[in-house]
């Protein structure tokens, strides 16, 4: 076996140990740099490179040689301009520096709540998407269809191009073959309504003005976000990734009443199927740690801020912790300070396993950090965070039988056809087409909901 294969096996074993409730040989180093950062490292024009994802392969390869990580250093991108631009997106737009982001925009009015509650997917397709994506224009149906088709093609193409780079580099350098987005991606029901439907301002009004409707709306969109996150294959080693946004901006009583119930049920329902989740707890979740404890065992909790000691003490035996190391340190502190600090984090977070090293957030652009500091921190974790008791049981064990949920509403819409519905409308269709047609239905669903995440 060559060195790369041996290294990959070691990486697979340390990640699998963490997910299997065992203390690994050493702490996995989960560092990934986004497309934009990588493009700038190669001296590429950011705006141009994002239109041609393959172009970053060489520079991504160089970064893999420079930066130590157990997962692929190049993370790919969540946002390419092609498919947003073709749809005339107002939800995701490119800033003056070429970085695509989500400004505060409104896709749903307060008066749309009743329709959202009655027919959630219909409401989203008929009302929300056309507000956020101006190429969808009911008065110009043929051009709308053409724009949508081009956008879907671009979406498939660009994610495939960047995914291929990740795949190639994973094999070339023997990385752990599984990154943040490999196991499904979705949002909590409340965040889905807040982020792209009502906006930050709108949701803040609704929480106080029409909490009952908002609560019903979370129930209504549940089947959509639940289905969106479902992974193609269920594995103990993959996670559905959910970035959580609104909780720390809310009062606890609103969080408890409006946010938590549907989110908790979502994770319980996944857990009942053996599906794990990885959640990004944006901002400082200190006041919600008891809630997090109640999530299914072995949920991967990626923290931004908070006291590592308190977090490890409260959650470390049950859940897998990652994040917390402040990325801004890599800009504002010396290499020695960064290295000393990461040892402090490891001393607190690593004992007894259930820990993967990660930063509190990804650096977005090259100038966000001093790359030499990042390299020093990554190598320190690799060499310093070694366990003396590998193979020991880490903490509480996940058992899917422990999770039971009431059946939730199903996704029902004239815009989404199950195989039986399709067959009823097209009685002559061959059973041989079942998988293909069902997969196409789901691919379109995935694309459309992705536009709002």
């Amino acid at each position: 076996m060559n060195d790369v294969k041996a290294l990959q096996e070691e990486r697979i074993s340390i990640y699998h140990d963490v997910y299997d409730n065992k203390v690994p040989k050493r702490v996995p180093v989960g560092i990934s740099l986004p497309f934009e950062f990588v493009a700038q490292y190669g001296g590429l024009n950011l705006a141009q490179a994002q239109w041609n994802p393959s172009i970053v392969e060489e520079t991504a390869d160089k970064l893999c040689q420079k930066v130590y990580s157990d997962t692929c250093v190049f993370s790919g991108s969540l946002r390419f301009p092609s498919f947003y631009e073709l749809m005339k997106s107002q939800s995701f737009v490119m800033a003056s520096n070429g970085f695509i982001q989500h400004p505060e925009v409104v896709g749903m009015m307060p008066e749309d709540y009743d329709y959202l509650i009655e027919k959630p997917y219909d409401c989203i397709l008929e009302r929300v998407l056309p507000r956020q994506y101006k190429a969808l224009d009911a008065a110009d149906p043929i051009n709308s269809a053409i724009s949508l088709t081009k956008s879907v093609l671009a979406y498939n193409n660009d994610f495939m191009e960047s995914g291929m780079i990740v795949g190639k580099l994973t094999e070339k350098y023997g990385y752990y073959p599984g990154n943040l987005f490999s196991g499904g991606f979705s949002e909590a029901p409340f965040d889905f309504i807040a982020d792209q439907l009502r906006g930050f301002k709108g949701i803040s009004m609704d929480i106080r003005r029409i909490p009952d409707k908002l609560k019903e709306a979370c129930e209504a969109v549940y089947p959509i976000v639940f289905k969106k996150g479902l992974p193609a294959q269920i594995s103990n080693y993959g996670q559905v990734f959910l970035p959580l946004h609104m909780p720390t901006f809310m009062r606890e009583k609103d969080f408890e009443n409006l946010y938590w119930p549907t989110f908790k049920r979502m994770l319980d329902e996944y857990a009942s199927m053996g599906i794990h989740c990885s959640i990004f707890c944006e901002d400082d979740w200190t006041r919600y740690l008891d809630y997090l404890y109640d999530l299914p065992t072995d949920t991967v909790l990626m923290f931004e801020y908070g006291d590592p000691k308190i977090i490890k003490g409260k959650l470390g035996k049950k859940h897998i912790i990652t994040g917390l190391y402040p990325i801004v340190n890599l800009k504002t502190k010396s290499e020695k300070e960064c290295v000393d600090e990461v040892k402090r984090y490891i001393d607190i977070l690593a004992p007894q396993g259930k820990y993967i090293f990660g930063f509190d957030k990804q650096p977005l652009l090259l100038n966000d950090i001093n790359l030499e500091n990042l390299c020093a921190v990554a190598e320190t974790v690799r060499d310093y965070a070694v366990y003396t008791n590998p193979g020991d049981t880490a903490g509480i064990e996940f058992k899917k039988e422990e999770y039971k949920v009431e059946p939730s509403r199903k996704l029902e819409s004239k815009y989404y056809k199950t195989w039986d519905q399709y067959k009823a409308l097209n009685p002559n269709v061959s059973e041989f087409g079942k998988d293909k047609l069902s997969n196409l239905e789901d691919a379109v669903f995935q694309y459309l909901v992705y536009l709002l995440m």
Binding site: A95, Q101, P103, R209, F249, R251, D368
Partner: protein
Amino acid sequence: MSDFKHLTEALGNLDEEEVLRILKDFVASNPSQEEAQKAVEACQDGMNIVGEKFETGEYFVGDLIFAGELLNQAIEILKPVIGSASEKKIGTIVLGTVHGDLHDIGKNIFRNMAEAAGFQVYDLGIDQPVEAFVEKVKEVHPDIVGLSGVLTLALEAMKETIDGLKEAGLRDEVKVIIGGNPVNQEVCEHVGADAWTTNAAEGVKICQGWVK
């Protein structure tokens, strides 16, 4: 109107229905401009209570946004009776989200609270180039420049903006405060700002301290 204290309390409690009821009754009573000005002040005092409740952890960002909207509604109702008597401003702030960042929730909360505290605020908007800040500072000679940003990429943009003010010879004329998720003391020193905050209410207090 004897209800000013009640108005302040209702706004502080974010009791929208009560605030609007009091103000509509007040406007219907045909108040003098002087009385109307007192109602405005009562609302501003209510915003102070909101700021205090935010600092003590009773309110959160969503509540500040709600409070800003409520205050806007209140001022709209009062507009016809306030007249032209303009209130004396306690200071001037040029505010904006730095280039490369499209986020403005935090900036808008700060603007609402700073205006309620009596500042004249010139809000440049989001993704603003260095020159936009430099030009506005030359034009209005503010006491304070407020730089906002949410993404880590905003930190370098803040530094470039402050460097731009230096190059234009304007840095010593103004105090600079930075605000947003990724800022801290080290960042403040790194970019060359005078103060930093991740808390709009605290940011307004810092600004008040500067113009005393």
